[in-house]
């Protein structure tokens, strides 16, 4: 844990000068439902990657890999949008802690 900042250490007007610093703020613990990726049903359409509001889908060489659970808030948009294969979803939502 970083030492909390005192009032003399702040930028004027609470302006954030470091672009992309949301990466430091891990939001995965907010999740109530956890998406699970079923690779066998995945057609690599990348809809999930496009729709994910938290950039929590890891893509390498143009192909999706597993979720980045440090940032996934469990919103379920990916599971909703996933077309799957032959009527079978490639992303399913499961309750956390079960």
């Amino acid at each position: 844990m970083k030492k909390p900042r005192g009032w003399k250490e702040l930028t004027p007007g609470s302006v954030i000068l470091e672009a992309g610093n949301a990466v430091e703020f891990k939001t995965g613990s907010w999740r109530a439902f956890r998406p699970r990726w079923l690779e066998e049903n995945c057609i690599q359409c990348l809809f999930c990657w496009m729709y994910c509001p938290d950039m929590a889908i890891i893509v390498e060489d143009g192909k999706r890999k597993d979720f980045n659970y440090d940032y996934c808030k469990g919103c379920g948009i990916c599971a909703l949008e996933c077309p799957g294969k032959k009527g079978k979803k490639a992303i399913v939502m499961e309750e956390e802690g079960k």
């Binding site: 909390p4 900042r5 005192g6 009032w7 003399k8 702040l10 930028t11 004027p12 007007g13 609470s14 302006v15 954030i16 000068l17 672009a19």
Partner: protein, 392 residues
């Protein structure tokens, strides 16, 4: 060479804004300010300034547009009055909290209800805790001079806070007075090129304005905001001294009028101070040691300096052109705060006057000074807060 003209307060401030040539102006009409921004938009239409003018649908939008333009990195101005300032309310705090040096002439006008378009200080006094610097102006000359100085104060790299320049609606905004204009080149040189701080349009260095700050850090930001306000006094005095070299007109944190040896004194803002000074001269001619203090910088309030100026007065009346119903007037409360730690302090009373443009007449000042003479003699206060110039 300065140019001497006969103009209204609105015209004088619009002229100052023409000379300053800000980057962006977003404004919405409201009496008695309308005429100022109308004149300024004529300068825009006639190509006398390079300002981008944004016509908006309300004062809330005007201030919002100013906030955006200021964060983007521009020198920004707007102006308002009364209900307009009230409608800006939530955005005022965003401008100051984001440390955006927007300059806003406020043509003081009463607040509804009942509906009234004339001058009193209810509007700007209501915004006293919004984190804006507030300068008050007695006449058109002071409004012109304060507007020019406000840009330097607000935009100072140690300050970066928005500033209001207040003047009385109609009494000053619409009355024609003698005003000395500075040369265009002198004003341009005085306000100098706008210096940006963290501009959003610097796309090579992306940044973010207005983050969510939760209980773990919010109080630190507010403490920092107070700290920057404590530096304003010094900047106001430095800017005033530079301005004096240019204009030969002297400004301070407040004006002391025959106050040095005064036994009785009045504290009063804006145009009514002019009337009160005439009456003080009459009392002086009768051998009565009367004086006056006219605050110029109301936010931040210069407590120590004011206390030092009035500490030897026996009886003092603080006159408020705004009311706090069921409480003392806002200026009176500040003067009480200023004198709190003095071992010996004046006996003080509070008069509410001039609401909704009710005339402040010489006889009102006389009545107050006579009452102060009695208080100084007897050491007894009849009543702390009272309304003057009001029918029973």
């Amino acid at each position: 060479m300065a140019k001497i003209v006969a103009v209204t307060g609105n015209e004088a401030v619009a002229e100052a804004l023409r000379q300053i040539n800000p980057d962006v102006c977003a404004a919405y009409p409201i009496t008695p300010q309308t005429d100022m921004m109308q004149r300024f938009s004529s300068f825009v239409s006639d190509g006398k300034v390079d300002t981008e003018i944004i016509l908006v649908e309300s004062e809330h939008s005007a201030m919002s547009a100013c906030i955006g333009a200021s964060a983007a990195g521009g020198r920004v101005v707007t102006a308002t009055s009364s209900q307009g300032l009230a409608l800006m309310w939530e955005m005022l705090f965003i401008a100051s909290g984001n440390r955006l040096p927007i300059v806003m002439p406020v043509v003081n006008r009463a607040l509804s209800a009942p509906l009234n378009i004339h001058g009193d200080h209810s509007d700007s006094m209501g915004a006293r805790d919004s984190g804006w610097i507030q300068l008050y102006s007695e006449n058109a000359q002071e409004a012109y001079d304060n507007t020019i100085q406000a840009f330097r104060i607000a935009e100072h790299m140690d300050i970066r806070l928005p500033a209001m320049v207040c003047m009385d609606g109609f009494i000053i905004s619409h009355s024609i007075e003698r005003v000395e204009y500075l040369e265009d080149a002198d004003v341009k040189n005085f306000v100098s090129e706008y210096k940006q701080m963290n501009p959003l349009l610097d796309i090579d260095n992306p940044k973010s304005y207005g983050p969510l700050i939760l209980p773990d850090l919010y109080m630190e930001y507010k403490r920092a905001q107070h700290e920057v306000m404590t530096k304003v006094k010094g900047v106001v005095l430095n800017v005033a001294s530079e301005f004096e070299k240019l204009s030969k007109r002297k400004y301070g944190l407040f004006e002391s009028y025959k106050l040095d040896d005064a036994e009785i004194a009045i504290v009063i803002l804006n145009s009514a101070a002019g009337t009160a000074k005439d009456v003080i001269d009459q009392f002086r001619a009768k051998g009565i040691k009367a004086g006056l203090l006219k605050p110029r910088l109301f936010r931040p309030f210069p407590y120590e300096e004011v206390a030092d100026a009035i500490k030897d007065v026996s009886a003092l009346c603080v006159m408020d052109r705004a009311d706090s119903f069921g409480a003392y007037g806002p200026l009176f409360i500040e003067i009480c705060g200023a004198t709190l730690h003095l071992e010996k302090r004046p006996l003080m009373i509070n008069k509410i006057y001039g609401l909704g443009g009710r005339d402040f007449m010489p006889e009102h000042a006389e009545q107050v000074l006579n009452e102060l003479s009695v208080i100084a003699k007897t050491g007894k206060i009849r009543i702390v807060k009272e309304y003057i110039g009001v029918r029973e």
